[in-house]
Every structure is written in C-alpha cells, then in structure tokens.
Point group: C2
Chain length 332, copies 2
DNA sequence: CCGATTGCAGCAACCGATTGCAGCAACCGA
DNA sequence: TCGGTTGCTGCAATCGGTTGCTGCAATCGG
C-alpha cells in the first residue's frame, strides 16, 4: 500500500483536496453524497490522514506525554497502562517518557513534546521536580500532576495519604498491634514525605509511639530497615511495620526473610500502593490500595478541563484496604 | 518564550531561511561566520526546529515505536528502560506502545507510527503475533523483533533458551537435584514454548525424567503449579523446579508459601529473566539472567543495519546465572 | 418574478521546515 | 586579463493537510 496523500483521493473522487479534508474533519460541511463517495475512495485507496501534516497546520496534536521517573517501578507501569487506555478512549496517543529522576530530562521532554504540539502533558514527578519551575517550561502551563499533592496552580490527582495511613493503622490495631513502625522510602519523594507526615500525625493523635525506621536511599531502604529491626532488642521491636510503598515492603520482607525473620508470624508488614505484584509475593502483601485506574482517567479529564476553563482542579481520591497475608494478629 | 519559526531567526540574522536550515542540518555547507551568527541568534531567540515540519518534509522522523504486550510486566519495563536510553543515544525518541496482547493493536500502532514517518520499529511480540503478517503492514518491513527466535526475514535479538535451561539444570544438579520439574508460563508465548522445548530436549539427553507442571494460563500458572505440587505424593515430588520466567517463579513461590511449603528448604525454585525485582523477593530469586541491557542496544543496531544493507540479522545472546537464595542443596 | 439566503465546493494562502537549482563574488592558473 | 572553479547564499517548489473567503446554483419569501 503505497503512501496516499489527500490529493490522490481528491483526484480519484473528482473533488478538490479541501473537500476531502472537510469530509474527514468537518463532516457536516460537505454534502452527504459527496462525503460518502470520498470516504469510499479513501477506503479503497487505503488512505489515512497524515497526523504530522495535520498537527503542523492545526498547531495541535493528539500526542500526550506521560512523564515518569522510572518505568521499571511497577507502580508507574500500572499507571502507564491505565493512562494509556484512558488516553486512547479520548483519542489521544500516550507517549511514555522516562526521566530517570532528572529534572533536566523532564523539562527536555516537555519542550520536545511542546514542539510536537502536544495539547497537554501528564507528569508523575520524581523527587526533585519543582512545580513552579515546571510551569516555566513551554508546556508547563498545560500539565497535570499525578501522585503529588500541592497547592500550586497546576491540577493534581492524588490519593489521601492520611486516610491511607489511618486505614493501615486501624487494620493493624484491630489485630492487636500497638508497636507499629514506619519505613520511609526514598526520602525526597513527596508522597513518601506526605505519608510519613500522616503517620507521625496519627501516632501523635493516637498517643502511640512513632517508630520510624528511616532507611534513606531507595532500594536499600528495606535492607537497612531490616538491619535496624534485628538489631533492636526483642521486647522493643515493633510488632508491625508499615512501608512507605509496596516496593519498599517487598524489599523489607525479602531482607527480613534473609535474616530469618518470618512474616507475618514475627512481624506484620503492610505496603502502600496496591500493586498487582503484591498478590505474587511471599507472603502475599496486605496493603493500602490506590485506585490507580481511576487516577489515569481523572488525570486526562483534569487536563481537558484545564484547557477549557483554565481551572486547575485538585482531586484527591480515597484509598482502600487490600488485606492479604502479610499481616496477622500480634504474637503474644 | 513564544513560538519561533525559522523565518524569525532568518529575519533577525539577516539571511534567508534556507541558510538557517542549512546552518542546522548541513553545517559544512554554510560559512562558519554566518553559521556562528545564526546559531547565536537562534540561541537568543530560544529557537528550536520543529520536529513535525522537519519530519514532514524529510519523510523520516526520529520516533521509534517499542511495542510490548504489557508494560506492567517488569520484564518489559526493564526492556523499555534500556531501550529508551539506547535509542536516546542514537538520537531517537522511543514511543512506548502497549498492545494488551492484541494483534490488531500491534498493527494499528505500526501503521500509525508509519504515518509519523518512524524510521523503523521494535516489537516484543505477544503470544499471537504472526511475523509474516507483521511484515505485511506498512512499517512491517522495517521492524526488529526482540525476545523471539524465528527464521523469518525480520531481524531478531533473543537469548539462547537452550543454554539458559542448561545453566539452570547444571546449577541444580550441582546441588544434588535429580527430580527437576518445569513450570511453563503463558503457553502461547514463543519464548515460553522455546524454553519448554529446551527443557524437554535436555531432560531426554540427560536421561532425567521430564516433569512438566503445565499450568496453562498466565498469572495463575504459579497457583496451579503449586496445587499440583502439593497434591503429589511426597516421594514423587520434584526437589527443584524451573519456572518459565521470573514472574511465574514469583507466583509459584507465593502460592507454595501460602500452602506452607518452604523455599528453598523443601523445594528449590529457579526463574528465568533476571529481573531486578528478584533481589526483592522472599527468598531472593536464583535465576537465569538475560542481558536485557544489551538487547536494547543491539535491537537498535540491528534496525540501523537493516536500513543500510537490508540485511536481516539474527543475534542470539548468552544468558548467565544469577545465584541468589531460592535454591539450595537437595534435602535428604 | 426578483432579491436574499443557504448549502456546497473550489481557490489559494499557510503551517515550518528542506533541497535542487541558479546566481554571484572571490579566487585560480595560464 | 580572462574563462573556469569554488564557496556561499537566495529562490521557490514541496511535504500533506486546513481554513477563510469567494462563487455558484438552488431554494425561499414576498
């Protein structure tokens, strides 16, 4: 099927190119009979409009960047997946951009896609993106941010950290736990910070001790936390721990396991994310689930609203509990 | 920074647009002094060439589709990551396309990106893509396939299944195992089929019994295999099992764990992929590692060669062993 | 029966680049 | 001094669509 241009169709259908163009993009402006004929010819020729030429002239395309720090992290994987289908439903084509956590990359992607006339962008910011700086790049004023609360002028969709932590703590207290620790993830991350604050706040309110196993940098967090755990005198150990996110929980469980600590017999562990992967871990992970699928669709909606009204809305979603096998009644 | 076009730069630098164009895309064709001035003006104006207009005129862009069935699967996540950086190094921009395993989607993406003048595409085929059918779509003749062996006319990069399985079996036999089972993954997958065949071939050659825990469909494979395992009389159980890939291994371990079977004490489990995630599982997963990072770079190279010589090369990489904690000496 | 409205199609400029061809000045060797 | 190169730059067509404007015929109201 050789490359067909609009002129080929026009010639074959005996009309002007502008008529062909209208047959596709403004159907009501062309006589139904003519339109029918044009569409048939186009069909038979295997013609399809060039998105490039179209975007160039219209100064707007259907390419929507989704900017994530690390696609290897299943959370972003799941986000990308739901976002892609949400976008497709609205006629957008998602372009996945992986920054490796670098701000420069984020900006580079944003301006690059601005050049492709992307109507807007979605960014799941890494550690260090400054939202105000974000706004300064070209596409920056037409961006919605996922998984990060902020009072900045850009629309955001997040889940309620406080509620999530409360859910987790309630669940654990219901099982009899009183010594509930928290393991923070990558300390720079905003969600991580947010969840930590929620934990501290709740601990204060409930007047239970806040035990923070701050384990610093990323993937080693679990390892370091496990070390702290086993080095703690038996009677001072927490009986349950809440991890900042599922990946940290996996790492923690793994490291604890390697040290001979059994879960949930000796200590209960909870995650935060609700990854599909949690149903394949050993033991299966009890966790606070974020409604990732909703987040995708909502982000797109927010973007469209932003384009229409210029309103930067903030929606915060309610998490729920996913009880699997990594938590149990407190051992006596 | 308002949108600058080539004409703005030309006017400001007192030259013709064609000269500006050449200053960027054919530096040797313009006087160094002139060029210098143009570049400075461009810089000060914040000008950058429109990739759209460029692609339209040149009939070739730097967009390269990577088509995967499921980005949620960390294997494809890792592949995407390495591929993205490999592509970026060569000046390409990777566009991630997720098909959900549907052939129609694959073809749709391919022709869509053909319309964007993608120079070539990379596809990690799902279950059911027919390579010959693949060639029939527009971009089909400029595609390289990853993770699937085939003697078709499209270039491929894969890892040697037979060697991988041999590595695994050797490792297990070295630990004293003789009853080594195999759990196949999604049965339609080509790599899965390939690995299964390798296992069967090797079992025959070594004259050890081939025990296949065929567990059919995808994510339940581990669950079903675990069920088969515990329903087998104690003395007939395998002492080790090789899973078709890491995800199946995770699911298997999880399900075995849920049934009270301890790993590696009661049974050793090996995966196949070498996912980063394996270092966070409980226990840490011993597995056959595919050189995913190499695969990305090589796929791009193969594509470029295809464009130059028209040669469809096939490279098969050697896997290696990643010994972690899910295998141990055979219990006596 | 006539002027006004309406529906539909064509014309041509435009989006932002690239590139073959032509023109021109400087420079070459004889 | 002169014809021929060489090195740069300008001209204008082109890639594949979109869209404001114009023109034409049919229809309408009075």
């Amino acid at each position: 099927m050789a490359e067909m241009s609009i002129d080929d169709v026009a010639a074959r259908a005996g009309v002007h190119r502008s008529t062909v163009s209208r047959a596709f993009s403004r159907p009501e402006a062309v006589n139904p009979t003519t339109r029918q004929r044009i569409l048939e010819v186009a069909e038979s020729l295997g013609y399809q409009v060039s998105p490039l030429a179209q975007a160039l002239r219209r100064k707007t395309s259907n390419l929507v960047p989704l900017i994530v720090p690390d696609i290897t992290n299943p959370f972003y994987g799941e986000l990308a997946k739901t976002m892609a289908t949400a976008a497709a439903e609205k006629g957008y084509q998602l372009v996945l951009c992986v920054t490796g956590g670098e701000v420069a990359q984020t900006n580079a992607y944003l301006t690059a896609l601005q050049g492709m006339y992307a109507p807007f962008g979605i960014v799941a910011p890494s550690t260090s993106v400054d939202l105000d700086e974000l706004r300064s790049v070209a596409l920056g004023s037409r961006v919605v941010v996922v998984d990060r609360v902020d009072k900045a002028q850009v629309p955001t969709v997040t889940v309620d950290s406080a509620e999530g932590i409360a859910l987790a703590v309630d669940h654990l207290r219901g099982l009899g736990h009183r010594r509930i620790a928290y393991v923070s993830g990558i300390s720079g991350t905003y969600t991580s910070r947010d969840r930590l604050a929620a934990y501290e706040g709740l601990a204060a309110k409930l007047e239970i001790p806040a035990m923070i196993l701050d384990a610093g940098a990323g993937s080693e967090a679990g390892e370091r936390a496990a070390e702290l755990f086993v080095n703690t005198a038996y009677e001072e150990r927490p009986t349950a721990v809440i991890a900042a996110n599922d990946m940290v929980a996996f790492a923690l469980i793994s490291s604890l396991g390697a040290r001979g600590v059994s879960i949930p017999d000796e200590v209960s562990v909870m995650g935060f994310d609700g990854l599909e992967l949690g149903s394949r871990s050993n033991p299966r992970l009890t966790t606070v689930r974020q409604p990732i699928a909703d987040m995708g669709a909502i982000a797109i909606d927010l973007a469209e609203q932003l384009l229409n009204d210029g309103e930067a809305q903030h929606v915060v979603l309610a998490p729920d509990l996913l009880i699997r096998a990594s938590t149990a009644e407190v051992p006596r």
